[in-house]
Symmetry: C2
Subunit: 357 residues, 2 copies
């Protein structure tokens, strides 16, 4: 559904920007440079509002920087004249292009300003090279910049004001839903595998849970790009300015560790079928641990979703601790699986403490 | 080092393409359209040869398709004339832009042809809109296409022939080095934590190993994009055409599972310090298992690196099996950690079998 909305928005933006060409009074103002406005809209308009904003600002910054330096270099080359100007242009293109390309590969710049650096190279090159031919570089640059600005304004207007799709909402919801996924996986393992109900007939949901667990494990790059876009997004809805997006990444990191623990616990239980007698003795504590863990994870997830401080945490922590003590007593009477649960439990306690900051 | 080479290559390519502008005989041929060649080089030239090729081909495809359809629409609009032509242009822009944007979000197309779809929108829009103004759309389109082609040829030439940086090599090496990373982590855990040498003083390398283990866990998106680029790369070096890149992704998937197991084993050992007496009894088997696992992982990694069939596998598998049996005997005398080793072991056996296909 959101995809359809996004497609319509792109369509509308392009029609609007095409009007620069189609309507005679507008065209007489901007002329052939309207091309740059169209290009800007096509290239900038992204799915998330933050991504659009980030690309747009980067494009603006790159264009201005590249254009400015390009004009300087072109002026220098014009002064030299003759073959000297060609040499100056050639070397300056080489130096700036190589330097900017190298900068693009620095991780920190790659993360936020990759696109800006590319536009810088492009603009610098175009300006410096056409500076030799065109007499009025400055006028050309100003006109192009203004049409790029028009494209940018249209994009931002449509992207941010008409049914905006916020990366911050997406990140917020996806983190909260991960808690739910993990809670369900823990329940599935503890109740179905070790628990009383035999797992045979309910094999399908268990596999589904496993895959949701794996998707949590593999969610890192998606989270990072979302947090990056969210960083660009202005104040809106429930998120203030300078909202701590980095914390979301930390939480995601811990959730991935929990997911890794759950996965290996799952692998363990799949491979070492416990004998029935042992199974019966561990059924009860396993079920208790599983539901307690799942409950606390759910509560954490909900508290994040609704953005309130996790007050029940105060009541859960001692409960988890006593459960853990009980388990470690149990453990010493020689059964093997709950130690892993204890591990997950310790992890959850850690998480809980982290949340309470 | 490779980054410096890449920067120099970009610089050289841009200087070459700028010659279209700088040298009078060339400029008289291509005119202002040389701009498009510069743009093509800046936008297409990527770090890996496969990425450059993929972007270039996508750009070509998108330009041709978009240009062709755009010419058709423009011809249609010209026949209508007057206000009708404006309406035709507007609606066709809206429909094609929305449709192509929607297509871009289909996962399969997003993976391979995202850039091509974007260029399609751009070209279509430019051609159809300027078709109303310019009398010779066809000529314009042909000239632009030929300059884009020049830019493409320069890029491909420099990217593929001068110190090429292959994504396939990168993928190949990174998969092989992951085996080594995991082997080192296993050794570190088994020998340092459970083993005789006390872990206190050697805490630093253990942490380093943990982080390498985590980076293996988080390597999925990088592997996928590399495999995607590798798919585009032509026959070269030791890789033939239709090399099974998908298999690398499968192996990566299994390695990530092993990494998850190792991580949770590590968490386990950090939290539950075994009593010294128990510790002494498990020292020997733990060391043995650790070194055996590490050795088999290393051998697997090496066999992948050198691309020979893993013959020693035949001798390792029974060894692993007997070790596992021994461990499970040991396990039943009430100590808790080795079961996890048994798990990693089973995983490794699985991997081994997988490799032998």
């Amino acid at each position: 559904m959101r995809k359809v909305i996004h497609s319509f928005k792109v369509g509308i933006a392009l029609v609007l920007v095409s009007l620069l060409y189609l309507l005679d009074p507008l065209f007489s103002q901007v002329g052939e440079n309207a091309m740059w406005a169209i290009m800007t809209v096509v290239v900038i308009f992204e799915f998330f509002a933050g991504a659009t904003l980030s690309k747009g600002l980067n494009r603006g910054l790159g264009t201005i920087l590249g254009g400015g330096l390009g004009c300087l270099a072109a002026a220098l080359a014009q002064k030299a004249g003759g073959i000297g100007s060609t040499i100056i242009v050639g070397t300056s293109v080489f130096i700036f292009a190589a330097a900017a390309t190298y900068t693009r590969m620095v991780p920190k710049i790659k993360k936020r300003h990759d696109y800006g650096a590319m536009i810088f190279i492009l603009t610098f090159n175009l300006v410096v090279v056409s500076g030799i031919r065109a007499e009025k570089v400055m006028k050309l640059a100003r006109e192009r910049l203004s049409t790029i600005g028009m494209g940018f304004v249209i994009c931002i207007f449509i992207s941010l004001l008409i049914f905006p799709i916020w990366a911050s909402d997406e990140l917020h919801d996806s983190i909260a839903s991960k808690f739910e996924d993990l809670a369900r996986s823990i329940e599935a393992i503890c109740l179905e595998e070790y628990g009383g109900s035999n797992g045979e007939k309910e094999n399908q949901p268990a596999v589904a849970n496993l895959s949701s667990c794996k998707s949590v494990l593999n969610s890192r790059s998606k989270d990072e790009s979302l947090a990056n876009f969210a960083w660009w997004e202005p104040w809106h809805g429930k998120f203030g300015l300078n909202y701590p997006w980095g914390k979301y990444l930390h939480i995601g990191e811990h959730l991935r560790e929990v997911a890794a623990t759950i996965l290996s616990l799952k692998g363990l239980s799949a491979r070492h079928e416990p004998p029935t007698t042992l199974r019966q003795t561990i059924t009860e504590p396993c079920e208790a641990v599983g539901s307690l863990l799942a409950r606390s994870l759910r509560e954490l997830g909900e508290s994040i979703l609704k953005m309130r401080r996790c007050h029940p945490g105060a009541s859960i922590v001692p409960e988890l601790k006593s459960m853990r003590l009980e388990l470690s007593l149990f453990m010493s009477s020689s059964n093997l699986q709950p130690i892993e649960n204890g591990d997950g439990l310790a992890m959850a306690t850690f998480l809980l403490l982290l949340m309470d900051i």
